[in-house]
């Protein structure tokens, strides 16, 4: 059980890193892009804007902590 938890923690740290909120916001932005694209509205602009906002928020969180 301890090894399993360690294995899970390793992959969490490896992929998600120290800012889980950034990963959640990226997932939300991709979901929103898919929703907009499937309603036949131009959606390519959303991910660059989302990446900028996520990066800014992540930097603020890192500086505050």
């Amino acid at each position: 059980m301890k090894r399993l938890a360690g294995f899970g923690r390793f992959w969490w740290n490896f992929v998600i890193g120290d800012d889980w909120l950034a990963a959640v916001l990226v997932a939300v932005a991709i979901g929103a892009t898919a929703a907009i694209a499937h309603s036949h509205v131009t959606a390519w602009w959303l991910m660059p804007v989302a990446a900028l906002l996520v990066l800014w928020l992540s930097l603020r969180r890192a500086i505050r902590s």
């Binding site: 800012d19 979901g31 892009t33 959606a43 991910m47 660059p48 990066l55 930097l59 890192a62």
Partner: protein, 248 residues
């Protein structure tokens, strides 16, 4: 070579070089404190493990439909790239200390010197495990980048060529100087890799989500320019904020 493939080779090369410089520091500390034989055995075992992981995952990734692959890979690369970029921006703006290979080397050397000597299979176990873990953990990041980047671009061999070039270069320089490569502009390389991973993460996750870029693949250059401008602007902004806070 197309723009996408050139970026692919360059990204794999730079990411691999950064990780191998860090692995070299650990291996050198282990070798000097515990002996070359055990440390090189650890490097060999980790290389075999990394090759097995690559061989197992590579073909599996290429079997996934391209749009689903680009969605998953795009999301992962974006999360991964934003992590690299955040750390590089924090270091460039002075909010985080620069990676100091000399200091890390001295710390690893002291730890390795002080550890108890236990022999297993004719090897010094501490030296073997230290080298094995160092190469495996740093190498996993390279494998991840090579496989995700390469599969989404349909060129895993090309990504592997970029990564292998960096491994050979760092190994040759490391053997020649037998000291940690402290003069490598590590943060600039990490910044560049972060920019590239973020660029491709944005591009592929958008395509995978079903949206279409104006100008198709050529828009990668536009996304790249956007990410560079935003990142450099954030470094300048944070630098100014830090100076204002220091003088207030």
């Amino acid at each position: 070579m197309s723009t996408g493939n050139a970026f692919l080779v360059l990204s794999a090369f730079l990411a691999s070089a950064v990780e191998m410089v860090e692995a070299l520091t650990i291996v050198l500390a282990s070798a000097l404190a515990r002996g070359w034989r055990s440390s090189l055995a650890g490097v060999g075992a980790a290389t075999v493990a990394l090759a097995a992981i690559t061989a197992a995952l590579g073909p599996a990734l290429t079997a996934i439909p391209l749009n689903a692959l680009r969605l998953a890979v795009g999301a992962l690369l974006l999360v991964f790239g934003l992590q690299w970029l955040r750390k590089a921006i924090l270091r460039a703006s002075g909010f985080k200390a620069l990676h100091d290979e000399d200091a890390i080397f001295a710390r690893e050397l002291a730890d390795a010197d002080g550890a108890e000597r236990v022999e297993r299979a004719g090897l010094d176990w501490y030296g073997f495990v230290l080298s094995f873990k160092g190469v495996l953990l740093e190498g996993l990041e390279v494998v991840f980048i090579v496989l995700t980047f390469g599969s989404a671009q349909h060129s895993i061999p090309l990504a592997a060529v970029g990564a292998a070039g960096a491994v050979v270069l760092v190994a040759v320089i490391g053997i020649a100087v037998r000291a940690p490569l402290a003069r490598v502009p590590e943060n600039l390389m990490k910044f560049t890799v972060g920019v590239m991973l973020t660029t491709f993460g944005i591009f592929w996750s958008t395509e995978g989500a079903g949206a279409h870029w104006p100008g198709a693949d050529a828009s990668i250059l536009g996304v790249l320019a956007f990410v560079i401008v935003v990142s450099v602007a954030l470094v300048q902004l944070l630098k100014r904020q830090r100076l204002e806070a220091a003088t207030a």
